[in-house]
């Protein structure tokens, strides 16, 4: 998931939390005891820690997340609310830390083992669950959900492997008829047929795109009206100019505490339109509970937050994300491997880390996969010291490579966003390029223009280096290595071509295909292959990887129960408020 940065939009950083010891213990017990619980509860449950329930949790965000329809919205800002109002067949365990990366059954009673050579999944759906409008959940709901993936304009690629998906478009889709998604409402089963085995299909089903909506939901975009869901909260209102309000879903009961526990606050309100500095002030004063835009807090106020009085209110977590400069491999000078490696040797990553807010907010990076990610093994060939971590630029080697490449003196255009951080990153990159003999200049565009601009092959002739950032969709190496650098991720003349560097190495692609195939049958072998692919990509230098960012969560003094989930970051509904 590409995240748009400071002052440009609503896609900013993901939220997190860290639990109290007691909370962790309770949740761990819940995970152990209730992970595979099946069948409806006969009574509405308040869940663990009901003594802490109550209050209004107010989040302050600089801007809203745009259109709210969950079939279209691709922002963490809305996803953090959707995980409290909706459910999918499966989901990431709603707990902090590493256990939060585990996929657990949610509206399905268990995680099925695929049959038919890995192409068919039969889910048994829980009975007795109701949507927030009182409708009973039936397997047919998922047919509508998956049909809407194609009839509502949005990212459809996650589910394009379903049988019949190729025939779907915004004009219409009938996956039931084509045999892709078959609901049996009497047996309460849902069968999904894929055209080919996909080891990441379960990961993809955890995303809010696959959350159940009532079967009679329109197949067209619902705009800012979020269809009812099955989670502990429901959408009372959403106005992108003012606020989103979530209240308790009267029909909710806990069926799996690990997948969808009950929430603590009675109401969750997300307000829009404040400057980030004002958000911080309000939270400092206890007038709101959370600063959404933690990664945009001005330098001024960061120094304020260093004060011991806020020590318990500030939480910093490393993100599984990359901030990088993509090198345009389709035109000189960076169609030359030596030129690409040269700028990787020259990039002063300490400077980029300082732009990000210093070592406490970013970690220098050389390789594609971020730390704490499956198949990650530290590797940094572009430095002076040991080749595991970055220690400093190697300008001598960089200059030698530039000369050897025959690209010395070439003009280079560095494309970035025109917000403060984007501008500063571009200026540092220009400085690094000039230091090894290129004649670099900047091209700064607004955030909403820059990302589609650099993705579209029609603009390849207009830039050489482009800033971008990527935050995991789910914890799978292919989400970086195939989505961002696979040959299949180059879509010519499209604004949605995530392989910005347009890098395609047939040998590496062969290994990617092999790793994906091995994912279902031999995960250990697949993991080793992904590590190899990561290192091979790094050697080919399609990017200058700058750093892995960290996320700041700043909460009010009366907020407790902070947990950091690696997938969803802050778990809003698991926070409780003291009086």
């Amino acid at each position: 998931m590409r995240q748009i940065r400071p002052k440009t939009a609503h896609l900013t950083g993901r939220r997190t939390t860290m639990a109290t010891l007691a909370g962790l213990a309770v949740l761990a017990l819940a995970a152990a005891g209730c992970g595979n619980s099946a069948g409806p509860s006969s009574k509405p449950s308040t869940g663990a820690g009901s003594a802490h329930q109550g209050g209004v949790f107010t989040i302050l965000a600089n801007s809203s997340f745009g259109v709210a329809d969950p079939a279209q919205n691709y922002t963490l800002e809305e996803w953090q609310l959707l995980i409290d109002t909706h459910d999918g067949l499966v989901g990431f365990a709603k707990v902090g830390g590493l256990p939060g990366t585990k996929i657990v059954p949610d509206l399905a009673t268990s995680i099925p083992i695929p049959t038919n050579g890995g192409k068919t999944y039969v889910f048994h759906i829980r009975r007795g669950i109701k949507f927030s409008n009182g409708q009973t959940l039936t397997p047919s709901a998922f047919v509508t959900t998956f049909d809407r993936q194609f009839t509502v304009p949005g990212p459809t690629s996650f589910y394009s492997g379903i049988v019949g998906a190729s025939k779907c478009s915004v004009k219409g889709c009938n996956l039931a008829k084509s045999g892709g998604v078959i609901a049996n409402d009497s047996a309460y089963t849902l069968t999904i047929n894929l055209t080919a085995p996909d080891p990441e299909f379960m990961d993809q089903l955890t995303l809010p795109f696959a959350y159940a909506v009532p079967p009679n939901t329109s197949l067209k975009l619902t705009g800012n009206n979020v269809p009812p869901g099955t989670g502990p909260y429901m959408w009372k209102s959403y106005n992108p100019n003012t606020e989103a309000v979530l209240v308790r879903n009267p029909y909710f009961h806990v069926w799996s505490k690990i997948a969808q526990p009950n929430g603590y606050p009675n109401e969750i309100i997300e307000k829009y339109g404040l400057q980030v500095s004002d958000e911080v002030t309000e939270v400092e004063n206890g007038e709101a509970q959370e600063v959404f835009d933690g990664d945009q807090i001005p330098s001024d106020q960061l120094s304020t937050l260093n004060s011991p009085q806020y020590a318990g209110q500030v939480h910093v977590n490393t993100l599984t994300a990359d901030w990088y400069m993509a090198l345009n491999t389709q035109r000189p000078p960076f169609n030359n491997l030596q030129a690409r490696q040269a700028i990787n040797y020259a990039a002063n990553r300490t400077a980029y880390v300082k732009i990000a807010g210093g070592p406490s907010l970013a970690v220098p990076a050389c390789q594609i996969l971020p730390p704490n990610f499956p198949s990650y093994k530290p590797y940094c060939p572009y430095t002076t010291g040991p080749q595991t971590t970055w220690s400093g630029p190697n300008l001598a080697k960089a200059r030698a490579l530039v000369k050897a490449s025959g690209t010395y003196g070439d003009k280079v255009v560095v494309d970035s966003t025109n917000d403060q951080v984007g501008t500063e990153l571009a200026e540092q990159m220009v400085s690094d390029l000039n230091s090894i003999g290129y004649k670099a200049s900047t091209q700064l565009l607004s955030g909403s223009v820059q990302y589609p601009f650099v993705q579209n092959s029609a603009n390849w002739s207009k830039w050489n280096v482009a800033w971008s950032a990527w935050y995991q969709d789910y914890p799978a190496p292919s989400d970086f290595l195939n989505v961002l650098l696979g040959c299949g991720s180059i879509h010519k003349n499209s604004d949605a071509s995530p392989n910005i560097a347009a890098f395609c190495d047939p040998a590496i692609q062969k290994l990617i295909n092999q790793a994906e195939a091995d994912g279902s049958t031999n995960p250990a072998k697949a993991a080793a292959l992904w590590t190899q692919i990561d290192h091979m990509d790094t050697q080919q230098a399609p990017w200058v990887d700058l750093y892995n960012p960290k996320q700041i969560d700043f909460l009010a003094k009366n907020v407790h129960g902070y947990e950091w989930n690696p997938q969803w970051y802050i778990l809003i509904d698991q926070l409780w408020l003291s009086k």
């Binding site: 001005p298 120094s303 260093n306 910093v316 732009i355 406490s360």
Partner: protein, 347 residues
């Protein structure tokens, strides 16, 4: 010129004005306006100081490039070497804060910006860019607007209708919206603009100059066209026509000298406006592009540091205020000096 002579005669000031060049008269009036002269002096001082930027920059530059980032650099404060970017304190050590004003002319006099550059040096370079764009775009705007107004006002009829409607179309757009749209479009052309032999790179200062000049053409065109229409119907123009003068001569020898005073009055005010517009566009990141800086870009750079390093934004803000104030006072003085009604005061 003929019209001025006629007016002077009609007011019975023959003895005072005979043999005097109207420009000399205007200059004489301007010299008596001490406020306007002070404004002119301030403006000239700002221009000279900004032009001297390389002399100062030579003293403070790091790696020979004062406009480049210096995130890992050091400087000297009280005889000690200190990093330009200082790590946050406390347990969390969040953020990096640039060094504040040292009040030492040789070492970050006004402190550093977010990427470790000397704010004082940026201020001078920013002034060069802001003044260059402001003056050049105002001149360009006035020249183009005057030429179009002369053609429209003199020929009238269909020519006037077409040109005036064209100006109306430009006028119909909110100026900043039009400027932002044009800038965004031009900035996506990495090779810049190529019109015949003329090439302007996307990051050149000429890009905002041309954009700003373009958006303000109708604002100068309208009053000048009105003046042209008025002058074109005067007797001395009819006399020139009767003598068989060509259109070219009528426009440039008879009409232009009588409307140029209007343009001159407008010029300082236009410079003030264009400097403000440039600052606003640069603040919005669609004006001056890195590595160039302007007062607007420095204000933008400093907005995240308003509490701890206010001088980053305050200093360019003060420079803009001083410059625009000087230009407005000077503009008033020039208007008083050139306004025919002021002739009585000359006596």
């Amino acid at each position: 010129m003929a019209a001025v002579a006629e007016q002077v005669t009609s007011t019975g000031l023959r003895s005072a004005a005979v043999g005097r060049n109207p420009w000399a008269l205007a200059w004489r009036r301007l010299r008596r306006n001490r406020l306007a002269l002070a404004a002119l002096g301030l403006l000239l001082l700002l221009i000279v100081v900004c032009l001297a930027a390389p002399l100062y920059a030579h003293d403070v530059a790091h790696d020979g490039n004062v406009l480049g980032p210096n995130l890992n650099g050091t400087t000297i404060v009280g005889g000690k070497v200190v990093p330009v970017m200082q790590e946050g304190g406390g347990i969390l050590k969040l953020g990096e804060t640039p060094i504040g004003p040292t009040w030492d002319l040789h070492h970050y006099f006004l402190g550093a910006d977010n990427i470790g550059r000397d704010v004082a040096a940026l201020l001078l370079y920013g002034g060069r860019a802001s003044l260059q764009i402001g003056i050049c775009s105002a001149l360009l705007c006035c020249i183009v607007a005057t030429i179009v107004a002369l053609i429209a006002g003199f020929f009238g009829g269909l020519t006037d209708a077409i040109l005036s409607r064209l100006m109306d179309v430009i006028w119909a757009f909110p100026v900043y919206l039009l400027a932002i749209s044009l800038a965004t479009e031009l900035l996506t052309h990495s090779n810049g603009i190529q019109i015949g032999f003329l090439h302007v790179s996307a990051t050149s200062l000429w890009t905002p100059t041309v954009i700003i000049a373009f958006i303000y053409v109708p604002y100068v065109y309208r009053p000048v066209r009105g003046q042209v229409l008025s002058v074109a119907s005067k007797e001395f123009v009819e006399a020139a026509i009767a003598q068989g003068a060509s259109n070219f001569r009528l426009i440039f020898s008879e009409i232009l000298p009588n409307v140029v005073s209007t343009v001159i009055v407008l010029l300082p005010l236009m410079i003030a406006t264009t400097i403000l517009t440039e600052s606003a566009l640069s603040y919005l990141s669609v004006g001056v592009q890195p590595p160039n800086v302007s007062w607007g870009t420095i204000i933008s750079d400093g907005q995240d540091l308003l509490y701890t390093r206010p001088w980053v934004s305050l200093a360019p803000g003060i420079m803009i205020v001083l410059t625009v104030l000087a230009l407005n006072v000077l503009g008033d003085g020039v208007r008083d000096a050139l306004d025919p009604r002021a002739k009585l005061r000359v006596r």
